[in-house]
């Protein structure tokens, strides 16, 4: 491939972003698209400081929702400016859940570590947020939620106070949020 040579000349940080890890999930069409995208970023030299570090904590539950996230891993980096995604192995995930039992039953957990938060305010107790996909029962709901999550991150990645937007838009706080909660609930009832 023609991209191989330029890759060798790039910085260590850039090389790190394309390094293979194990276990390596099966490649999909989405993977191929994301690979092309990653190559374009490297070739274009548009390296950037990532806003987020993504982590996937997944103990390996067998079900449609866990399988859905495993099959769409590349979409996360692809849609988030190739911010790094760290997939914990089953053993590492088990260790995390044993150490932090409040996460049990919520995995697979997609955790978005907001690096901006740690850089700007060391004292702050906001560190990012996580999507608890294990709480979702159906595949379609999981896909909708994942899309919403990625859309939200992509829309607000350049903003400073993302926590405020989380409360307003994802937690539906405030009067507008309450109306939205009722509206969505009504639509769900009408739609069956």
């Amino acid at each position: 491939m023609t991209e191989d040579k330029p890759l060798q000349d790039k910085s260590a940080a850039t090389e790190k972003s394309v390094r293979l890890i194990k276990p390596k999930p099966k490649a999909t069409d989405h993977d191929m698209d994301a690979a092309e995208s990653a190559s374009q970023v490297v070739e274009g030299g548009s390296s950037h400081a990532p806003r987020f570090h993504f982590f996937l904590i997944d103990c390996g539950w067998d079900g449609p929702v866990p399988n859905l996230i495993r099959n769409n891993l590349s979409m996360i980096t692809h849609l988030q400016n190739n911010d790094p995604l760290f997939v914990l192995t089953r053993e590492q995930s088990d260790q995390m859940l044993r150490k932090y039992p409040h996460l049990i039953g919520k995995d697979p957990v997609l955790l978005a570590r907001d690096l901006y938060a740690s850089r700007t305010d060391v004292e702050s107790e906001y560190h990012g947020f996580h999507l608890n996909l294990g709480l979702i029962k159906t595949e379609s709901e999981a896909l909708t939620t994942l899309r919403k999550f990625l859309n939200f991150l992509a829309s607000h990645r350049k903003g400073g106070n993302i926590e405020k937007h989380i409360k307003e838009q994802l937690h539906k706080d405030g009067v507008t949020g309450a109306i939205e909660v009722l509206r969505v609930g009504s639509e769900a009832m009408v739609g069956g």
Partner: protein, 64 residues
């Protein structure tokens, strides 16, 4: 208006508003469980993950 009907209307209204408020609270609670902010409770989880990245135990997922 019949006083009994007035009382019944008031009670019904209060129950309705209460039910709506309860429903909103339940749905917000579910949203918070889904999209949970990493706060003080998760500080150690985040610290552990950061440490694993810093130590090279975790490497970025890559396609290939």
């Amino acid at each position: 208006m019949n006083p009994v009907a007035e009382v019944l209307s008031t009670v019904f209204g209060i129950v309705l508003v209460g039910a709506i408020a309860f429903e909103i609270r339940q749905r917000r609670k579910r949203l918070r469980e889904l999209y949970n902010v990493l706060d003080a409770e998760d500080r150690q989880v985040v610290a552990d993950l950061d440490q694993m990245v810093a130590n090279g135990i975790l490497q970025p997922y890559a396609i290939g």
